[in-house]
């Protein structure tokens, strides 16, 4: 009898081989993150200096709770509990960023490139792609599990028992399986790989945002976010196994759904039926920028909605962030009202100085994606016919670059405006317009500098687009985590994230501002020149 999942092994082997490099790089990065995180916590927590107190104070601030997750209440803070509290959310996100594109690539991506059609014709079963992707997901998670447990055990954190380590890692793996299988399901529903990736990232981002708000406002509500489930295991303290069971249960349900869809769906189609298009092009569709607008507006709109929502949420929590008395009621006796207000304002501004980095990253990702589409569209062969028209390479490349910059501008500015205005609506003591200006003046050039780096790469060495994401990711992480991890003060200065001078707490310094503007202009021009002198497809 023919089974619908026959030849899974064959597909799995081919996929593993195909994804080897990608997986190796990610696994090394993830392993290094866990190792360096644990090691750093250990060095700070187990030293006798004032670093311990600084770290603990910092972790109690709402801004940090929003970023990394709230420390469980009434728990003895030692290397192990602090490690689990700081790393859980962060590692869930990073793990998911690894497996989500992998799952899409192995299913919808292969379908799109026609690879699956070729394979499937060789009597490979209907659900074989999903099954093979599932197997790969399990395999990489087993590898990660072993590596994580090994690392944590060998570092011998103070306060870490094996039960806690086992649970911490199990929660990570369970969450990763859940997000991986969720992506598999989305890949069956969406009609393109690009769309599937976007939806998966959006859901991940939403899950993060929800738990950011609830961790700041009221940790009981954190159960609302799937990422929160992993946090609620409280490894090394309560050691609660129920959330793990919950995640495994959801994973099974999602996997069954993905399986069922793959079995009943036509190859190469999504679940939504294809609507008929226009017989004639709209009047505006007569230039490269118009074409780009026509093909990207959906995604850009998605980013904008994301910026509005995220901005609204961060603005909305500003009031709780600024309530220093909530953090430490002892202050009530020590401080006068004006002192309390000043301290509140400083807390709000430091919170903004941290979160502006996220908005910069948000704008950069939105814009750089458009820029990198120049390479993607070329690889997909869409530009072959365009290059033969009277549109020059200059027009074509500049269109992608400038629209990328414009998208990043709009996404960043809208996000910051939302933070500022919803923040002021909630704050008892609204922020002066000066702080808004500071955020925009510092943040926008940083966004532009990074996006223009993308244009430089696309123009000259399009193969290196991965380098851009790694550079940006590390720049963001070092700047955000630097103070927590006790890194030297200037260690974030290797990327524009470090050049903002903690705006809006301080204004950006003129030399850095000029540097960012010059970089933008020079890289943009070089990007165009590069695209003019290299072969195109």
């Amino acid at each position: 009898m023919l089974r619908s999942d026959r030849h899974v092994g064959f597909l799995l082997r081919a996929n593993l081989k195909q994804n080897l490099k990608y997986s190796l790089v990610w696994i090394v990065i993830l392993e290094m993150m866990v190792a360096s995180g644990a090691f750093k916590m250990q060095t700070i927590m187990e030293s006798t200096g004032k670093g311990v107190q600084d770290l603990l104070n910092m972790l109690r601030m709402p801004g940090m709770a929003g970023l990394f997750g709230a420390m469980p209440k009434g728990v003895a803070l030692n290397s192990a509990t602090v490690f689990a509290g700081v790393m859980m959310v962060f590692m869930v996100i990073l793990d998911a960023l690894y497996v989500m594109p992998l799952m899409v690539k192995n299913t919808r991506g292969q379908e799109e490139s026609g690879l699956l059609e070729m394979v499937r014709a060789r009597t490979v079963g209907r659900t074989a792609a999903v099954a093979a992707a599932l197997c790969e997901l399990v395999i990489v998670n087993v590898i990660l599990f072993v590596l994580y447990v090994g690392t944590i055990v060998s570092l011998n954190l103070k306060g870490a028992d094996f039960n806690g380590t086992f649970l911490f890692t199990l929660a990570l793996i369970a969450a990763n399986l859940m997000f991986g299988v969720f992506t598999l399901l989305i890949a069956q529903l969406a009609s393109t790989a690009r769309g599937a990736n976007m939806i998966a990232y959006t859901v991940l981002g939403a899950a993060y945002l929800v738990r950011t708000v609830t961790d700041i406002e009221n940790t009981d509500w954190t159960w609302l976010s799937p990422i929160g489930w992993a946090q609620k295991t409280n490894a090394y303290s309560d050691n609660n196994y129920w959330p793990v069971l919950l995640m495994f249960g959801v994973t099974l349900l999602l996997a069954a759904a993905a399986w069922q869809l793959a079995k009943s769906r036509d190859l190469g189609t999504g679940i939504l039926p294809e609507r008929a298009g226009r017989a004639r092009a709209a009047g505006y569709l007569r230039s490269i920028p118009a074409l780009l607008f026509r093909t990207t507006w959906g995604v850009v709109l998605g980013w904008l909605i994301g910026a509005v929502v995220a901005g609204g949420i961060f603005g909305g929590v500003l009031n709780s962030v600024g309530d220093i008395l909530k953090t430490n009621p002892l202050y009530r006796q020590m401080m006068s009202v004006t002192q309390v207000n000043a301290a509140n304002k400083t807390m709000v501004l430091s919170f903004l100085a941290l979160y502006i980095l996220l908005f910069v990253a948000f704008g950069v990702v939105a814009g750089a994606q458009v820029v990198f589409r120049l390479k993607e569209d070329e690889d997909k062969g869409y530009l072959g016919v365009i290059h033969a028209t009277k549109q020059t390479r200059q027009t074509i490349s500049l269109s992608y670059y400038l629209i990328g910059l414009a998208v990043s501008l709009v996404v960043f500015v809208v996000g910051i405006l939302m933070v500022y205005y919803t923040g002021n609506a909630s704050l008892k003591d609204p922020l002066a317009a000066e702080y808004l200006t500071r955020m925009l003046v510092a943040g926008l050039p940083a966004v532009f500098a990074l996006v223009s780096l993308a244009t430089l790469l696309v123009g000259w060495v399009p193969r290196l687009s991965a380098v851009f994401w790694v550079y940006m990711g590390i720049g963001l992480l070092v700047q955000m985590f630097g103070s927590l991890l006790n890194l030297p003060k200037d260690s974030g200065k290797f990327s524009p994230f470090g050049w903002l001078n903690q705006a809006p707490l301080h204004a950006v310094q003129t030399p850095w501002l000029s540097a960012m503007i010059i970089i933008t202009v020079v890289f943009l021009i070089l990007g165009v020149i590069g695209y003019r002198q290299r072969d195109v497809a």
């Binding site: 294809e274 092009a281 074409l291 997909k380 062969g381 028209t389 549109q391």
Partner: protein, 305 residues
């Protein structure tokens, strides 16, 4: 002499270590339809991309309309209409939108010709490109290219996905272009198509032009196929220089073989004393020509000439 629309002189192109083009030299005079033939991977598409200024050549000279295509692509592109070998389209746009867009990007617009072509090719412009079959994607590029008013039309394997009926429509359209005095460069693997439409052909193999000329000239260059029946045994003829591909009957009085044009006289002289009963010769078809030139044997034979 007519002016040359395309001139290529010792053009070279390397991709890393692979030498895609080693020595490409040919001209395309105005008003001619030139067939560009060669085995897979010979360098046809690469040559075409150089002519369109998409690839930078590593040596030699190339001009299109007298301009360097790499530096002056802006000057030549409005005068060219191009159909790529593999057509990939933005999945979210409909075929109709893409056709209009391509025309507009060249400063033209949807016209009566566009509608007529859509009818002839039985093309549904409303479908999203994602849902088009290979042939339908090809039609999008063909309709856009054919309804554009240009001086030079470049087709890279334009009919590779088309059914015979649409292929015929395409051939009729090219003949119309020919009548209108347009210049056409047509890369193709379909020999009947080339035989019907082209004034001249150029054959490329492993990055080198190995033959060019009009069909009659080329047929002359290659071997004749001979079937002969004699009274006396004719096996000795097999050893004669210029005779290839020998098949003989069991009685050794019938044979079927190929002979070089220049060896024909000697072979006939050798046949006469044997008492010829029957003799037929067939001119080489383009197919023979192809097999002749595409195989390694063809090249060594050609080099020996």
């Amino acid at each position: 002499m007519a002016t040359n629309i395309i001139e290529l002189n010792h053009v070279k192109k390397n991709f890393g270590r692979t030498q895609a083009l080693k020595d490409v030299t040919f001209n395309l005079p105005a008003g001619q339809v030139l067939g560009f033939l060669g085995p897979n991977g010979a360098g046809k598409s690469t040559t075409i991309r150089i002519l369109l200024g998409m690839l930078k050549r590593d040596g030699g000279d190339a001009t299109v309309f007298g301009e360097d295509p790499w530096h002056n692509d802006l000057a030549i592109h409005p005068r060219i209409s191009y159909v790529p070998g593999d057509v990939y389209l933005w999945p979210n746009l409909s075929g109709g939108e893409i056709i209009d867009l391509l025309l507009r990007l060249n400063g033209q617009d949807h016209n009566a010709k566009t509608d007529a072509l859509m009818q002839e090719f039985e093309f549904d412009p409303k479908k999203k490109a994602r849902t088009y079959s290979k042939g339908n994607r090809q039609k999008v590029a063909l309709i856009a290219a054919l309804s554009q008013d240009a001086e030079l039309y470049i087709f890279d394997e334009p009919t590779s996905g088309l059914d015979p009926l649409n292929e015929l429509t395409f051939q009729q359209e090219v003949l119309k272009l020919k009548k209108a005095g347009k210049t056409v460069l047509l890369s193709s693997h379909i020999l009947s198509e080339v035989e019907k439409m082209c004034d001249a052909i150029v054959i490329i193999r492993e990055g080198k032009i190995i033959e060019q000329g009009n069909l009659a000239q080329l047929q002359h260059l290659s071997r004749l196929r001979i079937q002969v029946q004699t009274d006396k045994p004719l096996s000795a003829l097999q050893k004669q220089p210029g005779v290839y591909d020998w098949h003989e009957s069991d009685a050794h009085t019938q044979a079927d073989f190929a002979v070089d044009h220049d060896a024909l006289a000697a072979v006939l002289a050798a046949l006469t004393p044997l008492g010829v009963v029957d003799l037929q010769s067939t001119p080489p078809t383009l197919e023979d020509l192809f097999l002749h030139y595409y195989s390694d044997q063809g090249v060594s034979h050609h080099a020996a000439q």
